[in-house]
Amino acid sequence: TMDVTVEFSGGAELLAGNVKKHALTLPASDETWTMKRLLRHVCDNIIQERPELFLQGDTVRPGILVLVNDTDWELLDELAYEIQPRDNIVFISTLHGG
């Protein structure tokens, strides 16, 4: 198994039972834990309502930014990124208010 932290902010936490920080233990398996696989796992195990507001197809919906250890996932292969033990993954909904 592999322990990671998954966080939601900017309003995305409303999809996750209004809880911002989730400790997640990923089951051991032969298959690599890529970000693509993690997204599906998060959608099935943490997202409590309206999963279509989290995922669109294989990836997050427009307006959600994905961070791995405080780095934009675009710098880390996005969906192909291989999750590492103790990674901190944040799904942040961009704010527009002022």
């Binding site: 507001l53 780095t71 909904s93 961009t94 002022g98």
Partner: protein, 284 residues
């Protein structure tokens, strides 16, 4: 179009002395501030503190654009407006507060909505653009207009107990808003301050940070927010600095072969109205 080293009056030495003794400011920095022109789009929760601290620091020319009128429900966060000013144009209301604080600042008021027909004309009159708006279509509009006019865009936002700030389109590899978000969010996932609520001091903090970033850009004091997104969560006092992607060569507006070469219809692009007024049930 700006003079890079305007003379300082004796009264200005007196007024700005406490910041001119900072090594990163000095006389040259104060002159750069006086020569600078900054456009604030949005005279609300972010625009009020940003305007006040930019004016206090001695920015020479401050443009303020907003079509809205002051409403009583704004006063919990838009702290430059007054009870007596309810009904007044918000940009004009800020200009009056600025005049009370620092009559050296030249305020240029645009009591109108910045839209695709006037954006390039308005933005091109200023060195730096500060996004203090409250809706998705205007954020894309300002981004595209900032790229087309070659201006850096200091972008802040706030909702509930959270705030975000970064600077778009700065330097060789700074991304623009579209580099991060090529597609707008589904309109029904967008929450504004009217629907979602906001603690007034959160835009207060983000607006102050926008003013700080502008002062840093103008004077060259320290690292900017290009390729860096700051996230603030007031519930648990979290401040997070995130490293962002570089400019995308395939970006539709700032890329090597841009496809957006004139400003499109942003309401249509975003499927939402450019207004604070709530029109739909919001989920996020």
């Amino acid at each position: 179009s700006t003079t890079q080293s305007p003379e300082l009056l004796l009264s200005e030495y007196l007024r700005y002395g406490r910041q001119m003794i900072l090594p990163q400011i000095g006389l040259p920095g104060q002159q750069r501030l006086k020569a600078a022109s900054v456009l604030l789009v949005g005279a609300g929760g972010l625009g009020c503190p940003a305007a006040m601290y930019l004016a206090a620091a001695g920015i020479g020319t401050l443009g303020i654009a907003d079509a809205d009128e002051v409403d009583m429900s704004n006063l919990h966060r838009q702290v430059l407006h007054t009870e007596a000013g309810v009904g007044m144009n918000k940009a004009e209301s800020i200009a009056r507060a600025v005049a009370r604080l620092n009559s050296n600042v030249r305020c240029v008021v645009f009591p109108e909505r910045v839209d695709k027909d006037n954006a390039l004309r308005i933005l091109s009159q200023f060195d730096i653009v500060v996004d203090c708006t409250d809706n998705v279509p205007t954020r894309y509009l300002l981004n595209d207009a900032a790229v087309m006019t070659g201006r850096p865009l200091v972008s802040g936002s706030a909702l509930r107990y959270e705030g975000q700030i970064t600077t778009y389109h700065l330097g060789d590899d700074g991304p623009c808003y579209r580099c991060l978000f090529p597609q707008p969010p589904p309109a029904h996932t967008v929450t504004n301050c009217s629907d979602g609520g906001v603690l007034g001091v959160i835009p207060g903090l983000i607006g102050c940070m926008q003013a700080l970033e502008v002062i840093k850009l103008v004077t060259g004091a320290g690292a900017s927010l290009a390729r860096r997104l700051m996230l603030l969560d007031g519930t648990d006092w979290t401040f997070r600095a995130v490293r962002l992607r570089a400019r995308r060569p395939d970006c539709a507006v700032c890329g090597d072969l841009p496809t957006v070469t004139e400003l499109p219809d942003y309401q249509q692009f975003c499927g939402a109205r450019a207004s604070d007024v709530a029109t739909s049930l919001s989920v996020l």
